[in-house]
Each structure stands twice: as structure tokens, then as C-alpha cells.
């Protein structure tokens, strides 16, 4: 009885130690800088920076391939916080990449929609609901306002409208994103 208990306990302890050692030995280093840059980006996944999404852009910034002024949706606030994080001089938004606009959401004029699903395929955040030959609509709370769905629509029935401010949707203005003091 005691032998049995001690054998199983010993085995468990041995494997626990071995796995603990392996966990330290084979630790997977993820690049923390990429993570933190990604946190500062607006996550619109619009691709205006020339990269397929916010995370690839963050990786490119971390690798030194891309400058910090290529994000129109984030605008000046994002550029400033990136400059703070990376200890670089803030610079104006690259005009080639577009200009800073107030936040908008896509709205589908539903009587014109022919149900072609092209905008669904274009949406990087799956904010458009619909099926083939059925009317589509935009889930407003998911829409990041990236405008990627406007171009593919064959009947031009998608409008970008400024986000309506109502009692329900009004929020305190966002504080400029800055890395937390403990991390910086």
C-alpha cells in the first residue's frame, strides 16, 4: 500500500519536475514589442497601411520595415503613442496612406442590395450579415469603418455614414492610447 502510493506519487513528482524543466528550457519567446505595438493600433484591419491587417503592420514596425505614420484610422493619437513606445520622433500622417477622418460605419441601402456577397468577402471583421441572393446588412457595432466593402459593391449601395451619436451610443471621448506607465 505505502509502496504503491509512493511509486505513483514519485512518478507524478518526477514527470512534474521534468515537464517544469522542459517548460523553462523550451520556452517560446514571443516578441513582446509586436504585442504592444498591436495593442496601440486601432484594429480596424483596413489595410490602408499597405499591410493585410493591424498585426502584420505591427510586425513590420517592430522589424523596422515600416514607419509609424501609416495608420489613418488611428490618426495622430496612434502616431504619438507609437512614437512614445518606440522612442521615436512623432511625424505627420503619411498622406499617401489616406487622411484622418471621423469614425464612420458602413450602411447598406437594403432596397438596392442584390445579395451578391462580394462585400461579405471583403469585410475583414465579418461585420456584414447575409447570404447569396438575400439582402445583406451591416452589424453596426462590429463595423470598424474601414471602407473595404465600398469598392467591391457592384450596385454602389454601401454608404459610409458618420457614427450617429445618440444617448445610447455616446461615449466619453477616448483617451489618447498610451503605453501604461508600469510597462513603459
Amino acid at each position: 500500500m505505502i509502496a504503491a502510493v509512493s511509486v505513483v506519487a514519485g512518478l507524478a513528482a518526477f514527470f512534474g519536475l521534468a515537464l517544469g524543466f522542459a517548460a523553462v528550457r523550451f520556452r517560446q519567446e514571443e516578441d513582446p514589442v509586436v504585442e504592444r505595438i498591436d495593442q496601440l493600433l486601432p484594429q480596424t484591419q483596413c489595410g490602408q497601411c499597405g499591410y493585410p491587417g493591424c498585426r502584420p503592420y505591427a510586425e513590420a514596425i517592430a522589424a523596422g520595415d515600416a514607419d509609424i505614420n501609416r495608420c489613418p484610422p488611428g490618426g495622430e493619437a496612434t502616431i504619438h503613442s507609437l512614437a512614445d513606445l518606440l522612442d521615436r520622433e512623432p511625424k505627420p500622417l503619411d498622406p499617401e496612406r489616406g487622411e484622418e477622418k471621423p469614425r464612420t460605419v458602413a450602411v447598406i441601402r437594403e432596397d438596392l442590395c442584390i445579395g451578391c456577397t462580394l462585400c461579405i468577402q471583403a469585410c475583414p471583421v465579418d461585420a456584414i450579415l447575409g447570404a447569396g441572393k438575400q439582402m445583406h446588412t451591416v452589424i453596426e457595432s462590429e463595423c470598424t469603418g474601414c471602407e473595404l466593402c465600398v469598392e467591391p459593391c457592384p450596385v454602389d449601395c454601401i454608404d459610409m455614414v458618420p457614427e450617429a451619436v445618440t444617448i445610447r451610443t455616446w461615449k466619453w471621448p477616448r483617451p489618447a492610447a498610451t503605453p501604461r506607465a508600469s510597462e513603459a
Binding site: 504503491a4 512518478l11 521534468a18 523550451f26 517560446q28
Partner: protein, 193 residues
Amino acid sequence: MTELALILVSTVLVNNFVLVKFLGLCPFMGVSRKLETAAGMALATTFVLTLSAVCSWMVQSWLLEPLGLEYLRTIAFILVIAAVVQFTEMVVHKTSPLLYQVLGIYLPLITTNCAVLGVALLNVQESHGFMESLVYGFGAAAGFSLVLVMFAGIRERVAAADVPVPFRGAAVALITAGLMSLGFLGFAGLVKG
């Protein structure tokens, strides 16, 4: 040497774990939808099966047998297998993040692959030595991989075929597996001669 070769052939073809002994059917049905995942799963299972066959042999003959604790075999082997799978996951994560992403959830699932425990227990049952256990484990894994990859290939074609409605999905997959099993029964005469 001849005996080792015989064990290898017998586990891969004649006593194939999936199609003749009917062990490890869950990953066989679950991961065989696509060829790439099947190949990844086959690789990971090969690694785990071989390693756990050896480890469980060591636990059995160096720990349980000398102490007369053979009745603890099952729980001890499960412990060994779980640890080996965890270890494999860490190594794969470190050495090949791409493979880790491909395998994803399937890697921890090897823990519950009954073929892994089956190999360990059958090694004891047939009182294999160290090398024999190693070859037996590797052979079982190779047989599993062979059948899994073949089955995935067939299923990819079946998916494109015009299957009668009542047979679609799991039904036709099980029928396919049964036919493959019948085919593998043909190897049963291989060793007699």
C-alpha cells in the same frame, strides 16, 4: 534482428492497430478529413507512440515489476503518456511553430488515443524486451500513420463524389474504413508462409 523485422511488419500490416485491432479509431475518424492535418497528426502520433512505448516499458520493468506493483500498470502508463504528450507539445511549439499551429488541438488529444495505451499494455502482455517494445511502438505508429494518411486521401475523394444522401458524412466514412479493414485482413496470411 529477424524477429524485430517481423514485429515491424506484423504491427504495420498484419495486426494493424486501427484496421485489425480497432484501436485509435477516434483520431482515425476525426482527423482524416484533410490530408495535411492527417499527415501532421500521423507525425505527432508516431513520435508520441514510440516514446511512450519505451517510457512505459522502462516504468514497467524497472519500477513496477521489481516492487511487485503490476496492478498499478494502467494508471502509471496513463501518467507516462500524459507527460510524454505534454513534453511533445512543448518541443513542437519550440522547434516548429508552424507544425504546432497545424496540429493545434490534435496534439493534446493524443493523450486519449487508445492506441497509445494499447501499445504500452500489449508490450507488457507479450513480455517484450526494450528493443522489441521500441519497434512495436514504432511499428504501431507507422501502421497508424499509413492507414490514417490513406484514409484521408480516400475521404478527400469521397467528399467530391456523388454519395447517396443517406450515406453522406460519417456513414460513408465508416463503410470506407470497413472496406479498408477487409483489405488489411488479406495481410493475415503474410506471416504463415
